[in-house]
């Protein structure tokens, strides 16, 4: 996979994960063009389209489009499953996930994605294991492991 984009039906970007090195300008251009292309698709059309020299696999879940750019040899149907698995993970983590969850907790959405995919490929095929790892990492985040700031809040955790 070269990149994954999540965007709303109005074309607002909610998550962008790039697995290829591109300048900010190029990323913005690609995002703009691709979002336009996908949003123009009618509901009866299939989930795949050819765009530049990539195969784009996209699926809409409620108000969010999940869009992946894959290369020549990649199996489009299994990419759909990858997207579905990511949605399931988000759903399990947030409990009936909706777009607002991803907006307000975007960093967590990234963390979950990074436990599921690495370098564009799936690193863990067990839903349970991904969620367990996230859980453990979240716990680690809660624990105090350095000096409590002098002027800061008195609670033990310094949340974002």
């Amino acid at each position: 996979m070269q990149f994954m984009l999540l965007f709303s039906r109005q074309g607002k970007l909610r998550l962008q994960k790039w697995y290829v090195p591109l300048s900010d300008k190029e990323k913005k251009k690609i995002t703009r063009e691709l979002v336009q292309t996908v949003l123009a698709r009618k509901p009866k059309m299939c989930s795949f389209l050819e765009w530049r020299d990539l195969k784009i696999v996209y699926k809409r879940y409620a108000s969010l489009y999940f869009c992946c750019a894959t290369e020549g040899q990649d199996n489009e149907l299994i990419t759909l499953e990858i997207i579905h698995r990511y949605v399931e993970l988000l759903d399990k983590y947030f409990g009936s996930v909706c777009e607002l969850d991803i907006i307000f907790n975007f960093e967590k959405a990234y963390f979950i994605l990074d436990e599921f995919l690495l370098g564009g490929e799936a690193q863990e095929t067990s839903k349970k294991n991904v969620l367990k790892a996230i859980e453990q990492a979240d716990l680690l985040q809660e624990r105090v492991n350095s000096v409590v700031p002098v002027h800061g809040p008195t609670s033990t955790s310094l949340s974002l």
Partner: protein
């Protein structure tokens, strides 16, 4: 100093903004606060500030001032800091900035951290965006972690290694020892990522491939266990156990079994088992079947297995899920060359897909349909394809029309059928027909001697109905000019001859001259046609009058022709009948190089092949100097363009303009392209006409490539070896334009190093239509006797949105097969 506002608070606030300006104001205010906080080196809230910055970055605002802060976070001891820091690094940094190298040391330390989640963060970041330098420095650490017994880290290290290998292929060797017992892991995460790593190594190195072939039995065993084992809740997806792993194993097996009999043999059984036992009610089962089919088709499988695979694809075609239909059509397109008969069995289903609502499915079905046309099914298929042509979207019409012409040419059961088919295309999709079809059709008509009367009659009738479709009008004008005598004499055998007088015919032709719908090219055709009728009709005076009127036309081309024809009437009247004689049969085969046209005042020697005449020398040397200017260096030899663009307006003033109309090409067959057929250059070495329409480039062995992609202009090269001379590579360029405005006056020039010779043939047109509605194609022939690496410099000039654009580019990414 009050604590900076929390992330969620900021998000909430920003979302209340009602206008873009309001949002921008809020963001600027917050960015200022964050900036001063960074300046104060505040450790406590750095994490929060960077997180906020990342949110604002996602909205599209600049966040580069946070880059160094991310590094500081990564270096911190707190896990929260590291988490946000690495996330920020992956979002804000990339290998173009030197800053990213500062991460290397931190990552190195974190790769050896005592907490596995910290190690995980480091591996993830390195595997996602590590540059070549970083990969070189840290490969050793990754290799170490690849051998750890901690499966959480091992699986990440495997994918990180994949990234390292992609960035620095020379380092692949160092990971070899660690791969030894990767497949004996029980953990599915490690198995999956190991298979990905092995796949990457095998794809890059034939030696690795040979080395890993011995893993085939083990892979087969793992796959078997997945299928046979009972329900495993951890990896189950709709009743299938770990489909992701199954698909990856199948893909690796495909690579290992290709061209190897023993390996293919070893996997035959398991492939058959997967193919027959996989549940197909959900997408996940079909994903596995799809991969299985791809593998079966690529390895040396036994014929029974291949038939099974094609039948699976046939079933896919009937599936309600359009995604499944799409992949089926794609796969069938790949296999239609090798397993033609098997695919033929599904022809009717494929033809039904022409009526699908989805654009991608329609396109694939069209391509596949053309590939399946043969002598037996031509009539039925053509009926369906013509029906499709009538009703399809404009973006398909050009390709479909060209496809129909080609198929008709190859398999036409009778001349009359052929002409009827052409007529049908011209009348229904006439404006979408490619410019180069006109000369091909004219040649075809000329050669169908017994059909001349029928053809001209039908064309005349079509003109009476509609004069808006230029290719139709051009062909019709030409025919009327040639065979007008047959038309008025009412000699048609094939159908009821119509009664038409000379004056009526001349009315029609003159109508074309004055009509707003006619392009300059069309006007040229009709003026010439009128002139030709002067030897076939008796109303010579009328013709003389028309011709003399246009002697003062504003259009230079028409003026020139009219003046010359006038001269013909006045001074050379004795030659007129010889000059305007009926055209001889044109040879289909062409000779080795540009042939000399016997310059007998415009008529060619019948035995000589009609080819384009070389342009005046001045034109080519001008181009040569242009290229030399742009090249600067001495090692490039400029290309001599041996033929002028298709527009008949040539610079020469001779009566050879008569031939200029025809823009003749010796052979009507196209060079193979993935989806767009183009016309064959006139200088075929083997003289053979058609090649398979949608030749699978993989079958030809040379992958196509994108040579240039900038500002909406994309130029793709597709390759083909010219038979029988293997030193000549035939490159077809396809220029497409994804912007919203057309690119006009498009000129493509190329130059190659001295050891090569290059021949650039005429382009299909000089307008690249907007929004990818069509392409300009042009054929380049490169002679490479020394088999050196092909390099090319290209110069593009065009007019876009009223401004003149020029660009130079180097094309160095030619696939090795194109010059070896």
């Amino acid at each position: 100093m009050p604590a900076p506002i929390r992330l969620r608070e900021l998000i909430r606030t920003i979302r209340t903004a009602r206008t873009q300006a309001e949002e921008r104001e809020m963001i600027q205010k917050e960015c200022a606060a964050i900036r001063s906080s960074f300046r104060e080196e505040d450790n406590t809230y750095r994490c929060r500030n960077v997180a906020k910055l990342l949110y604002m970055h996602m909205l599209g605002y600049p966040a580069h001032f946070g880059q160094l802060e991310c590094l500081k976070l990564i270096a911190s001891q707190k896990f929260t800091d590291k988490r946000i820091g690495y996330l920020g690094a992956m979002l804000l940094l990339d290998e173009r900035q030197d800053v990213h190298l500062l991460m290397t040391n931190c990552i190195k330390n974190d790769l050896n951290h005592s907490t596995q989640y910290v190690q995980g963060l480091a591996l993830c970041t390195l595997g996602c965006m590590g540059s070549s330098e970083m990969c070189r420095d840290l490969a050793g650490e990754v290799e170490k972690l690849l051998k750890t017994s901690n499966s959480y880290l091992r699986k990440k290290a495997a994918l990180c290694a994949v990234h390292v290998i992609r960035k620095v292929p020379e380092l692949m060797e160092m990971f070899l020892p660690a791969t030894k017992n990767l497949l004996s892991e029980k953990n599915h995460g490690v198995l999956h990522t190991s298979v990905v790593l092995l796949t990457e190594m095998c794809e890059r190195s034939p030696d690795m491939l040979a080395h890993f072939r011995k893993l085939v039995p083990q892979l087969v065993r793992i796959l078997k266990n997945l299928i046979m084992s009972g329900y495993s809740p951890e990896h189950d997806v709709s009743g299938i156990s770990d489909p992701f792993l199954q698909v990856r194993i199948l893909r690796l097996l495909r690579i290992l079994g290709k061209n190897d009999d023993d390996s293919s043999e070893a996997m035959n059984d398991i492939l058959a088992q997967v193919a027959t036992n996989t549940e197909t009610s959900k997408n996940v089962g079909n994903a596995i079947l799809y991969e299985t089919v791809l593998t079966i088709m690529d390895i040396k499988s036994e014929s029974g297995l291949r038939v099974l695979a094609i039948n699976i694809l046939g079933r896919f075609l009937l599936n309600n899920d359009k995604n499944i239909r799409y992949v089926a059509l794609t796969s069938l397109l790949k296999t239609v060359q090798t397993d033609h008969n098997a695919v033929q069995r599904h022809r009717s289903t494929i033809v039904d897909c022409l009526k699908d609502l989805d654009v991608s499915i329609k396109r694939r079905a069209m391509e596949l349909s053309f590939a399946l046309v043969n002598g037996n099914n031509i009539r039925g298929m053509m009926k369906e394809l013509l029906y499709f042509l009538d009703s399809c979207d404009p973006e398909f019409k050009a390709d479909c029309a060209s496809g129909v012409f080609l198929a008709a040419e190859k398999y036409a059961p009778s001349k009359r059928w052929h002409i009827d088919t052409i007529m049908r295309v011209l009348t229904t999709a006439g404006s979408y027909v490619r410019d180069d079809s006109v000369p091909n059709l004219i040649q075809l008509i000329t050669n169908s001697v017994e059909m001349h009367a029928y053809t001209v009659q039908r064309l005349y009738k079509a003109l009476l109905d509609d004069i808006s479709q230029q290719p139709l009008v051009q062909v019709a004008s030409w025919c009327i000019g040639e065979y007008g005598d047959l038309l008025v004499s009412g000699q048609c055998e094939e159908e009821e001859p119509i009664q038409v007088t000379e004056d009526e015919v001349l009315d029609v032709l003159e109508g074309l001259l004055v009509s707003n719908l006619s392009t300059p090219v069309t006007r040229g055709y009709s003026l010439t046609a009128i002139m030709k009728l002067s030897t076939r009709f008796s109303s010579v005076n009328r013709i003389k009058k028309v011709v003399s009127i246009y002697g003062s036309s504003i259009d230079v081309e028409l003026q020139q022709r009219a003046v010359e024809y006038n001269a013909l009437f006045k001074k050379y009247d004795h030659m007129r009948s010889a000059l305007l004689e009926r055209m001889p049969i044109m040879e289909k085969t062409a000779s080795n190089g540009p042939t000399e046209i016997v310059q007998t005042n415009g008529e060619t020697d019948p035995s000589v092949v009609e080819t384009k005449h070389p342009p005046p020398v001045t034109q080519s040397t001008n181009q040569a100097t242009d290229l030399l200017d742009l090249l600067g260096g001495n090692d490039m030899v400029p290309v001599i363009q041996t033929s002028v663009p298709t527009k008949p307006a040539s610079a020469g003033g001779e009566l050879l303009d008569l031939l200029g109309d025809l823009s003749l090409s010796g052979g009507p067959a196209p060079t193979p392209a993935p989806s767009v057929p183009t016309s064959q250059p006139p200088f075929l070495l083997d003289g053979l006409s058609s090649q398979p329409l949608f030749n699978d480039i993989a079958a030809a062995g040379i992958p196509p490539m994108t040579a240039y992609n900038k500002n909406g202009l994309k130029i793709d090269f597709t390759f083909e070896r010219a038979n029988p001379n293997p030193n000549i590579a035939v490159i077809t360029i396809n220029a497409s334009n994804s912007t919203e405005a057309d690119m006009t006056d498009f000129v493509f020039q190329a130059a190659v190093p001295k050891t090569f010779q290059l021949q650039l043939l005429s382009p299909s047109s000089n307008v690249v239509p907007a929004l990818n509605q069509g392409t300009v194609t042009q054929v380049i022939r490169v002679l490479n006797p020394q088999k050196q690496q092909l390099r090319m410099r290209i110069k593009l000039t065009y007019t876009h949105r009223a401004s003149s654009i020029q660009d130079l580019a180097e094309v160095n990414n030619f696939p090795p097969q194109s010059w070896q």
